[in-house]
């Protein structure tokens, strides 16, 4: 497989990651995780146990022949397949990623399907790919009639959510899904990997990456899954603690909010667990500017402190006759 920005390789990789809580009461065990992510009979689910439990489904392909979104209205038709895969972290957080790579130029005429099928996960433009307008257009969002990659990712989530045998739909807390839309373009020689991370409304995150030449598309997707997971964790815990009424009653209301966080989310923070060494500068940027880990540790500490206080208050209440 050829990497980003190499001769014959893609000039651009684009994708979208959807992140949500698996709709079950408790985290699922490894065996169930594998069953859930078995999307194809001919390929295995990849499981890794360190530094945390992480299962990745095989890629499933969706055939596409449509216009790519562009910022300036240039018509760029692309044909091929979009790859999608699902990830389950610690049997608790479910992610699906749909992504494609696109070469700088393709044949001037639409080829038979056979031509595209030997290039899985690639959208070949008919003619030249206008890289800048496509990058901008993709990140801004599609218009009707253009490629809607979010719905490819969403339909994979829906497909997994429909597996009733494994799911009880009784989630311990409600959480808002997020969508992280990303593009990766090759960085100049000698330039370190970098990112631009923007939070938009309605759980949308926009990430523009510049990655070293030769970065494999699935490695870029892995980085974005890692970013999306941690952004989702941070947003979720932040939301739950926002406006928390600690002094309202005997603490029952606060406990109802805090307990699921401890039971299900606080142990999931592990940035860069599987991120390629060459791409770690992107995380460093995020840590420096937005202070993700600092904020997380503060929030986690706050949850624990509140629980300790609640415990003390209740014990005192019991002790006084």
């Amino acid at each position: 497989m050829t990497g980003l920005g190499t001769t014959g390789g893609p000039a651009l990789v684009c994708g979208e990651v959807r992140t949500c809580l698996l709709p079950t009461r408790d985290a699922v065990d490894e065996r169930t995780a594998v069953e859930l992510l078995r999307l194809r009979a001919d390929e295995r689910v990849r499981v890794s146990r360190h530094p945390n439990r992480h299962a990745v489904s095989p890629d499933v392909l969706t055939g596409v022949d449509c216009l790519l979104p562009t910022a300036n209205g240039t018509r760029v038709r692309a044909v091929g397949t979009v790859a999608a895969r699902a990830v389950l972290v610690e049997g608790r957080v479910l992610q699906s990623t749909a992504y494609f790579r696109a070469p700088a130029k393709g044949p001037d005429r639409r080829q038979p399907w056979g031509y595209y099928l030997v290039r899985p996960g690639t959208l070949v433009p008919v003619g030249r790919l206008a890289e800048k307008p496509v990058t901008e257009g993709f990140l801004t969002g599609h218009r009707s009639g253009e490629l809607d990659i979010g719905s490819v990712a969403e339909s994979l989530l829906a497909r997994i959510s429909r597996r009733h045998r494994f799911l009880d739909y009784d989630t311990p807390l409600t959480t808002a899904d997020t969508a992280l839309r990303w593009t990766a373009a090759p960085a100049d020689d000698g330039e370190a990997a970098s990112l631009r991370f923007t939070k938009a409304d309605d759980g949308l995150r926009i990430v523009e990456l510049r990655l070293p030449r030769g970065t494999a598309p699935d490695v870029a997707a892995g980085l974005c899954e890692d970013l999306a997971l941690h952004d989702w964790l941070l947003s979720t815990v932040n939301d739950k603690l926002d406006g928390l009424r600690v002094g309202a009653d005997d603490g029952t209301a606060a406990l109802k909010v805090l307990r699921p966080l401890v039971d299900h989310l606080l142990h999931l923070w592990m940035p860069q667990a599987r991120v390629d060494r060459a791409l770690r500068t992107t995380w460093a940027e995020l840590e420096e500017d937005a202070g993700y880990s600092r904020q997380w540790h503060t929030l986690a500490q706050r949850v624990r402190d509140q629980l300790t206080l609640l415990h003390l208050t209740r014990r005192d209440a019991l002790a006084t006759p």
Binding site: E154, S161, R162, D177, D202, G243, R245
Partner: protein, 306 residues
């Protein structure tokens, strides 16, 4: 929890009461979403004071989604987008309140497997994100209702989700009879549900009635009527109660009675705390009744087989 709001006739206060119900639950800290399945005449956007949403939803609303014309239906954050001056300042501790509007030009449509799958996928997704999902169905025995029954049947994909039905009717002879017919009639919800594989007792136990715009004769609103009028109205009320009991929708099956509220006669809107206590345009009883309805919705004491 998944809640279906149904009624036999239009003008029963189904949409406006359901929207108030959603508002109360959100105030109490629940994450609530409201699905406007009232294809053809979506009113929720107006009740939540979202004037731009109707045109925005054109081609991106629930109807377009179910037909497969758009990958994801439009979602509107009510707290952020409403033009209602009170609602705009979201109270701390409140939950999310999101509207999924319908398409204005949608109209009714025939349900098929494709619609059903899309409906199930959407609800499963919303279930992750929200504590309470309120689905406002069109009046009468509609395709939207068939879709809801099919989706929640044991084979339909939402069978394992806790779901409840609220049937709204006004407090008149015609409305009482029509509501009873809608639920227990030959073409009614219960028989249609059983035909789709629902367990009769479970389905029956998940249906409750909400009486809307009920005149409370002891309220100040009616204090000026003549003795003859008062006696006549008392008699009507008694007869209606007997009629309702005879049709199987007597007091034990009623989840809540919403009193006749002058504000709602003039405007389909949310009744806020401010309307009651500061501006004093709405009655406290209405506020209370909406609050009770919101509480009882998830209180198992009020539900189950009688």
């Amino acid at each position: 929890m998944l809640v279906f709001a149904a009624s036999d006739k239009g003008g029963t206060g189904r949409s406006v009461t359901s929207a108030n119900l959603a508002y109360h639950r959100a105030l109490d800290g629940d994450d609530v979403c409201y699905l406007d399945f009232d294809f053809g005449s979506p009113t929720a956007a107006a009740v939540f004071d979202l004037p731009d949403v109707l045109s925005e939803a054109e081609g991106r609303g629930l109807h377009s989604y179910l037909k497969g014309k758009t990958g994801e239906p439009l979602r509107v954050d009510v707290w952020a987008r409403t033009e209602h001056p009170v609602l705009r300042s979201r109270p701390s501790g409140s939950g999310r309140l999101v509207l999924l509007p319908g398409d204005r030009t949608g109209g009714e449509f025939v349900t098929d497997e494709e619609n059903l799958h899309r409906c199930v996928d959407l609800v499963l997704r919303l279930k992750r994100e929200f504590d309470l999902i309120i689905v406002d169905l069109s009046a009468g025995r509609s395709y939207a209702m068939d879709l809801a029954l099919a989706a929640t049947s044991p084979r339909g994909g939402l069978g394992r989700l806790k779901n409840r039905w609220l049937v709204y009717h006004r407090w008149t002879r015609q409305h009482v009879m029509a509501a009873a017919e809608l639920v227990y009639g030959k073409q009614g919800i219960v028989l249609a549900g059983i035909a789709m594989g629902h367990v009769p007792d479970a389905l029956n136990g998940s249906i409750r009635f909400v009486r809307a715009a009920v005149p409370d004769l002891e309220s100040p609103l009616w204090s000026q009527v003549s003795p003859a009028q008062y006696a006549w109205m008392r008699q009507c009320d008694k007869e209606l109660e007997e009629l309702a009991a005879g049709r199987g929708i007597g007091k034990t099956r009623v989840l809540s009675s919403i009193p006749l509220e002058p504000v709602l006669q003039w405007q389909e809107r949310l009744i806020t705390d401010e309307d009651v206590h500061d501006r004093r345009i709405a009655n406290n009883e209405t506020w209370q009744a909406m609050g009770d309805l919101a509480q009882r919705l998830t209180d198992d004491k009020f539900w189950g087989q009688l």
